[in-house]
């Protein structure tokens, strides 16, 4: 088991009129990820409404803030139990056996136009043995083809753009990998989180985006950038793509400051709590329901 403690602080300046916010900054509650403690602080004396998506476990908070400064800070400590499997044993699931709940993740979405990548996916990966290693081959291909350049993409950049221009940030890597998986009928979805131990050369801790694909009855984690330690990922939300799990959706005239995020791992060998570790095995934190 891994125990991670983190905080996310978001600062905004709201102009003349009240603005609505939907945040997805709470740690998801799943079979594998449980809360030890959590705390949400808002600097304005306003009501907040918390919602947990019954299907995906994403937790959202909504609030209407008044003009002036808004600071939202979320602190949490979570325990994560990883399901570890031997890659050789992790299989793709025939369409006829994919559970209904996972089927939405084979269809194209805003940023993952899998319908346009059928030929490409089949010519690059169609001849590979189906299973975990084929998905890893997709991950490696995306990583090899794409250059990580901060600021190289924007809110309209999609998997097709990333394929063509071969540059992007973590969300773009994830979108391209997802689109390629779906083009092969492998259910794939977009996950957001915070990652412990990300390569410090890319600057301060930030939100991270990664991929889950449905294999052998579970959702397995893949980091298309190859920069994160999968056992060091806290999950915030999952969805079809970034359109579903923005950490903040803002309605109104608002200026944003960059998020401030901190994370640390807590070790407690007596309780069997270890630091996030590198691992060549397949890792899952979510079963198929």
């Amino acid at each position: 088991m891994v125990r991670l403690k983190f905080f996310i602080e978001l600062n905004y300046e709201i102009d003349y009129a009240p603005a609505d916010f939907i945040f997805n900054i709470h740690a998801a509650q799943t079979q594998s990820q449980s809360l030890v403690t959590e705390n949400l602080q808002v600097n304005q004396p306003i009501p907040t409404s918390l919602y947990t998506d019954p299907v995906r476990g994403n937790r959202y908070v909504r609030l209407r803030a008044n003009p002036g400064k808004l600071t939202v800070r979320y602190d949490a400590t979570v325990d994560i139990v990883h399901h570890i499997a031997s890659p050789d044993s992790v299989q793709e699931v025939p369409i006829a056996e994919v559970p209904w709940e996972a089927l939405p993740y084979i269809y194209p979405s805003r940023y993952c136009q899998s319908d346009r990548l059928q030929h490409l996916a089949n010519s690059e990966f169609g001849a590979l043995q189906p299973g975990y290693w084929r998905v890893r081959a997709i991950q490696d291909w995306v990583k090899r083809q794409t250059r990580f350049v901060s600021g190289s993409s924007n809110a309209t950049t999609s998997a097709v753009d990333t394929l063509v221009e071969q540059v992007g940030v973590c969300r773009d890597f994830a979108h391209l990998m997802i689109a390629l998986c779906r083009a092969l009928n492998i259910p794939a979805r977009f996950a957001t989180g915070i990652d412990y131990g990300a390569d410090p050369i890319f600057g301060p801790t930030d939100f991270h985006a990664y991929v889950e694909t449905f294999l052998s009855g579970r959702w397995y984690l893949f980091d298309a950038t190859g920069m994160a330690l999968p056992t060091g990922l806290i999950r915030l939300g999952v969805g079809r793509d970034a359109a579903d799990v923005s950490f903040a959706t803002i309605f109104g005239s608002v200026r944003s400051e960059p998020p401030v995020i901190g994370i640390e791992a807590i070790e407690d060998s007596e309780s069997g709590i270890v630091l996030p570790y590198a691992c060549v095995d397949a890792i899952s934190t979510h079963d198929g329901n």
Copy 2:
């Protein structure tokens, strides 16, 4: 109440290997739409699995068919009770009050890139009084801007393409209207169905695509093409856009014939069952849950 009797017959020729199919051709079961009778016939002696999406009420059937001819025929009679409201009383819902279940429908999706249409939506419709009539203004605008031409679009055509090229079929009209609504933070979704009384100049009865927007706590119907009689629409599925509610998703090497569809309305004045009728009021068949 309206009673509609219809059938959908789909014919395929499957090549050398078994092929998987997911069909969304069953009438949805909602508070407003109930089944009198239904029957599914498949010409091959194969098992079928039926699933009802617990959130949206869409009903899907999945099957694996063998090489050779596959015929799937669905017959049903449904009763539809329409919620009718005076347009003047139907309001847009402030973001702070949109139920969590409806929020996914404000985000961009594969074919409805609302994120790119913010300026356009605001300059065209931002100054209008929010409410039912503003949504009607969007519908009218889409209809005025876009020419209905059979065969003018394909499976990759999106709202942005339709906006630029000003030509499309019912699904394209719906996508553009949805994208514009979402750009104004009005939840909007894509519905598929069969329509009674469609203008016969466009050929035999076919699947139809229309729009639902969330107003005053319910989903109200809009037909962006202006060609359907909203009270004559049977609902099959709702989703974010056409990617969610294809009537048939096919996995394998399969040739398709055009669908054969028939519909008739049944009148029974003693039971209060009337023919579909033209109506200037706002019409809803689904509350907000």
Copy 3:
């Protein structure tokens, strides 16, 4: 006659290896625009090669610069004689009579996808009386639809993007106007220059992009942003779109500083030299050859 004196100074830092540059910063020499003086200074002791496009009159300089700092400064004084016509007398030219030299400007180009805007152009402008005022209607429409926001577009932004997103800078306004004209079979081309008297709220003098359309046997000027004084425009280059007339095309690893540009108008009433002036008439600086 108008006399304008201007300079353009470009500064670069070239990395480890020599880099090639093609500049289009010389004042064009046309029937209407003649040089009083000009001078090109390059801080490195390197050869430069000057070329005048025989068809369009654009003047290009090419050089290979060594690692280190490169400063290129061009100073010129030009006299411009404007051909002024009454808008009512300026007609569109039937395709059968467009000179062969102007025909390339009816075809789509990288940033002006006129082929996709046929329906739009015809539905918006098809019913208007052909002629100068119809082109002005296109200019006004582009200006009304599009918001001028510095930094809102990039090197891949095209007319279709600007149409959809309704935001851009002068080059984007010009591309959209050109694409709409071509969709109506009106030859239209992209011009770059420096403008005297641009609205100072948009910052220091910069390169400007505007439009020429072929009417009544001449190329007439239109500024799609509506911000420039057409009689205050110096022409540098004309082409199909920005891909043809970049002020600097750079081959190599080079950092660029923002251009420094100055312009002043010289008045000399004895010689009949006046300041640039506002004018409701149609203005041309180039006949049709």
Copy 4:
């Protein structure tokens, strides 16, 4: 020398009003391609105007046809002398030495968005030895990546679409190859013609599109589909991409029939006239001016 005899017959039905046509169906006249005989027949008694582009040698005919049937038939016999070079001796030209006339062909155009393919071109081909074989590597890559499927593309399909969807016809192959060459600063242009000896499985003789790149001071031929015999190509036109050299540009309400094209090779060993032949060498029909 190769001697080819061919005809192109185009049939149209013009609706209620006269329609303008610009045809590019005449054999180009270049240093390498000379006319033995030619004849243009038009079934309507209308004037035609013939124009030769002084820079590229393309020959265009323009006419205004009356309502009713229009048949245009062009017959010609041409002699083609091929410049043959050893591939190892054919070099890329440094930007500093590319003649000004060839420079327009390094910029992006409507269907060849080389600006978006810089990363891809550099990562795939950047490490290869510059020269003829690198261009061949690009040709082979395009051919390997792309499936030839008749009817798979349309008038708006660009190199980026072909890259993503990996399917197209000869014009799409050519556009993608051109865009990749330009992304590496290799001047590349689009050529249209008729090809002798095209693989008959793709149906009757049709227009063909191929590529010329500027190497060692000449334009060398490449057929991105790999299906044509380069020595069996008659050139009609060259341009930046298909937007420049459509065989027919039509203004008006016109129905078109498929073109009827025939070609034969004439052998006359006494005069040194041979049949088109396969050849592993580099082939050029146009020097750099």
